[in-house]
Symmetry: C2
Subunit: 127 residues, 2 copies
């Protein structure tokens, strides 16, 4: 199948599939006589895999590692778990950061009258 078929089948944008081919993340099965990228089921499965991993916020490099493990039937689940745990830790760290920001900013927003007058605790806090 051509690239747009593969894109549709994997739920990615055509541009993205081409980009993944360029960076060697998911290479097409081959090229047609006229140079068109051709994709078959295994590639589409990989594209889908990457789409799902990306949705979890894994970086392209992490996806590369995960794809390798996906393909490797001799893998250790420990290796997968290691990558996923790192991502989970990142998520937790981000959550803590956002919670702090949320609480402080919510407090400031709440205490700002939001009328035509210039005095504003948000500006005071930043200034």
């Amino acid at each position: 199948m051509n690239i747009s078929q593969a894109a549709k089948a994997s739920g990615l944008a055509t541009k993205t599939v081409r980009y993944y081919a360029d960076i060697g993340l998911v290479k097409p099965a081959g090229r047609s006589a006229s140079g068109y990228r051709t994709y078959t089921d295994p590639q589409v499965r990989k594209l889908n895999f990457v789409r799902r991993a990306r949705a979890f916020g894994f970086s392209i490099e992490d996806c590369r590692g995960l794809l390798g493990l996906y393909e490797d039937h001799e893998r250790s689940s420990a290796d997968v778990k290691h990558i996923a745990s790192k991502r989970l830790d990142d998520i937790k760290a981000k959550q803590r950061e956002l919670q702090t920001l949320h609480d402080e900013l919510a407090h400031l927003v709440k205490s700002c009258r939001g009328d035509h007058r210039p005095d504003c605790p948000i500006i005071d806090y930043f200034g």
Copy 2:
């Protein structure tokens, strides 16, 4: 004062202060005879303001708007509140997204044995 003094006084990197000058966010007070950027207290205050706003995740463009309001003593606090509320909404949206990711990924990580065997619910989920 020179740029590195202003950077130190505002808690920013010298490169960042120069960048802010380049994009017209916080312009230096002037230039010395030899072309050095010179900064005075008002600029340092603005740099500090931007640093604090950036720490809350406001974009450079938002900072531009906030700086304008900071400088405008005829401002309406409603305008400040509007920008801050948008940012707060973004934070909340991101929090919801991260919560979903966290819960799903935590579940997967927990259910993965993480040993030498290849079977792995994480890979199964993505594949």
